[in-house]
Symmetry: C2
């Protein structure tokens, strides 16, 4: 925007909104204007929600999840099956699995994947805390490694499998296959091969 | 998201972010997580910027622009040509024209267009304040009606022209034509006809 059009508070708001993923500079302006117009309904409540999150959000010292309590809501939920721990790269993966509601178990958030090129080694991820957690023997029987099906993800999966060697747990990984609703034509050969190998009887 | 995954502060943040234009429910989750991770760099500053905007933003009683001062930065800028007032539907149009930097004049924001079907009549728009402003004779010589080229916009333009009848000002409107970079093939016939009629000598 040209200089001296709106007060510095509005300019600063636009700049910060442009740093929110999903909003670029253009949508940041549109968003700012909408928020200003909906001052009572949206802008005020959003300011308060952000301040509340800033003041209360913390990282779970057990599993690496983000929450407003430590240990987090999931780790302290007595209705969860603590016999299974799903290992994920990021909190967003934990949220995605929770939305699927397929399991009612515990998680461990690595906080990334091993990536020597980016200088990310085992000590930069929550791997030590994972090994300690499982060695402590708090009931885990199965560890599901649900990292992304990328090279880094698979390298990380192998490393974790090595670290858990000798502990009394079964280690599994997510099945490969055709995504639900996916068209074969658009899938890579690796996925198709895996889907064929793991074919099931109807 | 499934219930009881994250604290209520995070859930509320996601809900409010989903109401920001440009973010849907899915991107709101991603945005919330990013903000939480960038607590010091983005979440905190954004919370403060929103609170500052909430506390300071006001509508200019002269022109209808939003700013942190009334009269607004534009209305009080002594370097602006007060002989020309551009009439726009919305503050976003004012911002767009300012970005174009084509004029260095004053504005009048209507706050919408006449729309009998939606129950929006002249009293719902800043038309009375426009007529008063120009009747007061504070220097305006030309009124550029820069409303959208829609049916409602044009109806509003006609109504305003009638209201300003008898006042000592020239009323103009934006030229129709081919957008810069626009391909003729994609333009409607009305635009092409207008572009032909207003053709200029090279
Ligand atoms: Zn936890
Ligand atoms: Zn103003």
């Amino acid at each position: 925007m040209a200089k001296n059009v709106a007060g510095p508070e509005i300019e600063r708001l636009i700049q910060l909104l442009a740093r929110v993923p999903g909003l670029g500079p253009r949508s940041a302006r549109r968003a700012a204007l909408h928020l200003i117009k909906k001052k009572e309904q949206v802008l005020g409540p959003l300011a308060e929600a952000l301040a509340a999150a800033r003041d209360s959000v913390t990282v779970c010292s057990t599993c690496g999840n983000v929450d407003t309590r430590d240990p987090c809501t999931i780790c302290t939920d007595p209705r969860r099956d603590n016999g299974t721990i799903i290992i994920v790269e990021d909190v967003s993966d934990l949220w995605a699995l929770e939305r699927a509601s397929a399991m009612n178990c515990l998680y461990h958030v690595l906080g990334g994947t091993l990536s020597p090129l980016d200088g990310i080694g085992p000590d930069d991820l929550n791997i030590k805390s994972l090994v300690e957690r499982i060695s402590a023997g708090d009931g885990a029987k199965e560890i599901i490694i649900a990292v992304n099906a990328t090279v880094e993800g698979q390298t990380t999966a192998h490393y974790i499998t090595d670290q858990l060697d000798g502990l009394d747990v079964t280690i599994t990984r997510l099945a490969h296959g055709v995504p639900v609703g996916g068209e074969l034509d658009y899938l890579d050969e690796g996925t198709l091969t895996a889907a064929l190998r793991s074919r099931t009887t109807l």
